[in-house]
Symmetry: C2
Subunit: 126 residues, 2 copies
DNA sequence: TAAATAACAGTAACTATTACTATTAGCTTG
DNA sequence: CAAGCTAATAGTAATAGTTACTGTTATTTA
């Protein structure tokens, strides 16, 4: 990762700071609106392009809602839990590499990445 | 599940047969085109509506690509693996309920559903 | 400090999905 | 089994999220 040559841009760094400054798992539009408070004339296209670049360079990760793509600045492996009652997203830990490695040993697949999404009811709502 | 009252419709049953007849994990548009060979004037909206109903009633499941929703007629729990080289989707088994149950015991979350997606390189491509 | 070009803002286009409307066709009940 | 109720339909318009395009700006490098 991070092999692609990217020039510095204030827009990209601001987007990253915005995302690092929240525990929500926002989508592009949320990030766009927050970033606009800092760079009022930033364009939505710039947000999308930079989010993709940040994913590409491994500085953030993508998570997938039913339809919308959401982002997370926490790049160490973790799983995601969505509360069906309040809609919050949580970072949780269930899967680790050992599960994957043992699968790789048994089969002729080579697993490079995995994404686990859970849903149910969170502690607050219970 | 299957508590909702649905009238019979040839369109819905045909869609289900089309999906049961493939091991691909097609999206709505693919299903629409296949179904059109049987019911030429079926509408895309009908396909979407029925896919949602079939999910609702537990006869099929949804899986999520980066952007597009895909469907699977195999409703027994399994995980999905996508080959980054050829793009194929595979049904595989890694997670089972015991992993989830043990998590539920340790935490105050109540997990109701989970979806694991993996990517890497498949046997054929290796 | 000038040339090369990545990144930008602004906007148009695209794609997947949902909503709307008038019509058709399963189901229920007298 | 015919009449009435309304789910489901076809066809189309609208929406939302995302990507592509264009002329301009700004970072890098030599």
């Amino acid at each position: 990762m991070e092999s692609i040559k990217h020039r510095y841009s204030r827009q990209r760094e601001t987007i990253l700071q915005v995302l690092r400054g929240t525990l929500e798992h926002p989508n592009a539009d949320w990030i766009y609106n927050k970033t606009r408070r800092i760079i009022p004339n930033i364009s939505l296209g710039t947000v999308y392009r930079n989010l993709s670049q940040l994913v590409e360079s491994g500085r953030i990760i993508r998570i997938k809602d039913d339809a919308v793509i959401r982002y997370d600045a926490n790049i160490k492996h973790h799983d995601h839990f969505r509360c069906t009652s309040c809609g919050r997203w949580y970072d949780i830990e269930i899967l680790d590499n050992t599960v994957i490695e043992s699968f790789n040993k048994k089969h002729k697949f080579h697993i490079e990445a995995f994404n686990l999404e859970l849903e149910g009811v969170c502690e607050i709502c219970l």
